[in-house]
Amino acid sequence: QPNFGIVIHGGAGTILKENMSDSLEQAYKAKLEEAIRTGHEILANGGTALEAVQRTINVMEDSPLFNSARGAVFTNKGKNELDASIMDGSTLNAGAVAGVTNVKNPINLAYEVMVNSDHVLLSGKGAEQFAEEQGLEIVDPEYFYTERRFKAMERARDRDKTENRTAFYDPLTKDEKFG
C-alpha cells in the first residue's frame, strides 16, 4: 500500500493543564480527532493532499475552539481579520489571503488564489471581491463573533490604557497570542 499520512495543529502557546477543564480538554481532543479523520479518509480513498489539507482545516475553521475563522480573535477595533495560505509541494504553487472579514473558510480562498489567479497573496477588500467572483461562501462578519474571544480582546485593550508597551512586548505573557 502506498504511504500516506497527515498531521495537524490547532495553535500553540500558554496552554496550561491547570487552566483547562476536563470537559474543555475533551472538546479539543474530539475536534482534533474529527478534523484529522476527515483528512485521513480523503487520503485513504486516494484523494489529494491538497484536498485533505483544505477539508481538514475547514473542520477547525468551523469550530469556535480555535483561533481561525469562527473562533478568530478580535482586532483592537473589535473586528475579525482572517489570514490563510496553502502550498502545493508538487508544483511549488501557492496561494494566500490576508485581512479578510467575510469569507467563511479563508483556506478555500487561499486555494482559489493559488489555482485561479496569477497571484500568490491577496489582501483586504480585493481578496473579498475575488472570493465573491469565485463563488465562495460569504458570511456576515457577525458569524465570527464569540464572546470568549471578544472578552479577551477587551481585557487586552484595557491593559493598553495602563501599560507602556513597545511594539515587541511579549504577547505570550500578556494573554494576547493564541497561536
Partner: protein, 135 residues
C-alpha cells in the same frame, strides 16, 4: 491558528494554515500564517510545514522554508531540521511557537517550544496520536 500538512498516495505533499492573527492587533498587522515560507511551505522533495506562534519571529526566521532547506541542502532528517529551527534558531531570535510537518516518506514532526500545542497525526495504518501539552 490551525494548520495541516499531508502526504497523499501519489507522493504529493501539501500544507495549509488559517488564522485570526493576534488578539487586539492594530494597523492591519499580519503575521506569518499567510506568508509562504514563514507560516506555510511544501516541497515534494523535502516536506510540508505549517507554523503557529509569534508571527513576527516566524517571518524573520523564514521558519517553514528553513526546515525544508535544512533537509534539502544539509541532508538533515525532518525531525532534526524541525528541532534545530524550533528549539535552537527560533529561541535565539526571541520567538516561540511550533510547527507540524510531514516529509515525503511519511515521517511526521510536531515540534514546539511553548507550554503546549494542540496537535494530532495519523499514518497510513490509521494510528492516531493526539496531544495538547508538552508531556
Amino acid at each position: 491558528t490551525v494548520g495541516c500538512a499531508a502526504l497523499d498516495k501519489n507522493g504529493n505533499l501539501a500544507a495549509g494554515t488559517s488564522t485570526g492573527g493576534m488578539s487586539n492587533k492594530k494597523y492591519n498587522r499580519i503575521g506569518d500564517s499567510p506568508i509562504i515560507g514563514a507560516g506555510t511551505y511544501a516541497n515534494n522533495i523535502t516536506c510540508a510545514v505549517s507554523s503557529t506562534g509569534w508571527g513576527e519571529y516566524f517571518i524573520r526566521g523564514v521558519v517553514a522554508y528553513d526546515i525544508s532547506a535544512l533537509m534539502e541542502y544539509k541532508g538533515l532528517s525532518l525531525q532534526e531540521a524541525a528541532h534545530e529551527v524550533i528549539q535552537n534558531k527560533l529561541p535565539e531570535l526571541g520567538g516561540d511557537g511550533g510547527i507540524i510537518a510531514i516529509d515525503h516518506k511519511g515521517n511526521v514532526s510536531m515540534e514546539f517550544n511553548t507550554a503546549g500545542m494542540y496537535r494530532a497525526s495519523m499514518n497510513k495504518n490509521g494510528e492516531l496520536n493526539i496531544g495538547i501539552y508538552s508531556e
